[in-house]
């Protein structure tokens, strides 16, 4: 891939609770280059949301980065001052929130909410109103003048998510983080939002980190995929590689549990036996070992590390091998 310095470089990131230390994320390393879209896939509790929050410096109270670093454009965000990170948030790095129904201030008009984004990073000027109008128009809001005078409760979920996207894109961020922004929406609206984001990303040559538990959603949206399990990256690579040639048994299991329209056999969907491990209970072993059908003795005594390159890496002693 590109030899340029990555826009975002996360190195050996570890996150754990402050009191009664429990590891939540361990040794997470990945990079996002300019204009590249990366998807993070994992079950609930696999640490995908914490990873994204650590990039924004907004880890919940009682949780802290304990190892590694997050570098944005050469700046170490784990050591930067809160003020420095705040200036990046919303302008250089922005995020679309999961649930559009509750993510807008209920007592502030839409237009005012967008102006807030500008005002908190720049001075408002005569142009600001027009910028807000353009931003709303760009995400497909009809009757922009009226929308600006409306309160959030007058909008549907899909429309609110469009407004959220307009807010996130208003200051032309270089990196957009999206934390399952379509989970709360109807399937048809989901598709509209996905194509809207894809279109905007293309147009702005923006980097993107898309967090989801749904492999089907990200397949057409991102260039590379990261698969997380119990606070670690188990596999990463290009979408094509992951989908056609999964190496980690977990990834293979995830893919085989996806329903396809091609399969008309009406078989039950395959599922992975067992439940995900809590990251802090894993210890010196592969976290997936208890559920793995290829498990060997060393899987239970050693931690497999991520080995490979940008196109393909896997953390497994006994990968699936070529199909």
């Amino acid at each position: 891939m590109s030899q340029l310095k990555p826009l975002l470089l996360v190195e050996n990131l570890g996150i754990s609770t402050v009191q009664d230390p429990r590891t939540l994320i361990n040794d997470v390393t990945f990079e996002i280059h300019a204009g590249e879209a990366v998807g993070v896939v994992g079950e609930s509790g696999s640490g995908k949301t914490l990873t994204s929050l650590s990039i924004l410096g907004l880890l919940p109270r009682g949780v802290a980065v304990t190892a590694g670093s997050v570098n944005y454009n050469g700046m170490n965000l784990t050591t930067a001052s809160p003020q420095q990170i705040r200036e990046l948030r919303g302008s250089a790095i922005s995020m679309v929130y999961q649930d559009p129904m509750t993510a807008l201030n209920p007592v502030m008009k839409i237009g005012k909410q967008l102006l807030e984004v500008i005002e908190s990073h720049e001075k408002l000027d005569a142009n600001s109103d027009q910028r807000v109008r353009d931003a709303l128009k760009e995400v497909g809001i009809p009757d922009v003048a009226r929308a600006m005078q409306s309160y959030p409760h007058e909008f549907s979920g899909g429309m609110r998510q469009r407004v959220m996207i307009a807010m996130a894109l208003l200051l032309s961020p270089k990196l957009l983080i999206a934390d399952e922004p379509t989970t709360a929406l109807d399937v048809t609206i989901q598709q509209q939002i996905l194509s809207l984001v894809a279109e905007q990303r293309q147009k702005r040559n923006m980097s993107m980190l898309w967090i989801t538990h749904d492999l089907g959603v990200v397949a057409n949206l991102v260039d590379r995929l990261i698969v997380m399990y119990a606070g670690r990256i188990v596999e990463s690579g290009t979408v094509k590689e992951i989908f056609t040639n999964p190496q980690h048994p977990y990834t293979a299991g995830l893919l085989s549990s996806l329903p396809t329209t091609a399969d008309k056999s009406r078989k039950r969907l395959t599922s992975i036996a067992g439940v995900p491990q809590k990251p802090w209970l894993v210890g010196q072993s592969c976290a997936f070992a208890p559920r793995c059908f290829k498990v060997q003795p060393e899987c239970r005594t050693q931690i497999p590390h991520l080995v490979g390159n940008l196109e393909k890496s896997v953390a497994c002693f006994h990968p699936m091998g070529a199909l």
Partner: protein
Amino acid sequence: MRRKDKIVKGGLHYYLQSTSGIIGAILLLFMVVASLCAAFGWLPHNPLDQNVDEVLKGPSGKYWFGTDQFGRDIFSRTFDGMRRSLTISIVAVSIATLVGVTLGILGGYLGKWFDLLITRLSDAVFAFPAILLALAIVSSLGNSWVDTALSIAIVYTPIFIRVARGPVLTAKEMDYIKVSRILGYSSPRILIKHILPNVTAPIVVQIALSLSWAILTESGLSFLGLGTQPPDASLGLMVADAQSLAAFAWWTLAFPSLFITIVVVGLNLVGDGLRDAMDPARRNS
């Protein structure tokens, strides 16, 4: 087009859509006008003038609400008493709101030791019955109306701390506040422009309700002989004086009591109306 009209008309328009709001507003208007009349001395008689020839006369064309045991005009005294009671309540509630809301919002937002300190302090104040604490404070401060207002303010401040702090705790965890942080808004901006407007509704309602309670507290203090001192008139003092007369001169008790009721009910209705008008989601229904 109709939509646009609605937007231009703004808050007052929504307020006047609720029946209780309209009635409350009419009563409030009456109180303000009556108090202004009293303040400018536009009353049929001087509230302090005694007349031994006309003691305990019933309502008549000359004395609309009758006279008391010193021959003073009850109509003029009621209006003047209401003015005094309202002034004390408004000053007391203003102080309590300003101090209580500031402390409550800061406590809720900052948390940690600061929050612990102010919640414990307000618990300590809450441990005493309001009237008892007000009694203790006013008897150590003095009997001027400023002292009375101050003692009521001290007693009411913790109520505002609680009313402001609770919603801030809730609002702080709301998604839209998280989004405000994600989009890089500064803490003062989040606090003033995003949290405060979302907690104003309960605070405004609390102000209206506290005003009516403060009227009652002031009446209570005057009734007990602290607060307003004779010969000045106060609604509570008039009720206290009328106690022994009510059996044969009902007007001495009825009119001051009626005015206490009007003030308390009126302010409560205003509170209800404001609550409905300040919720954008409730408005359109």
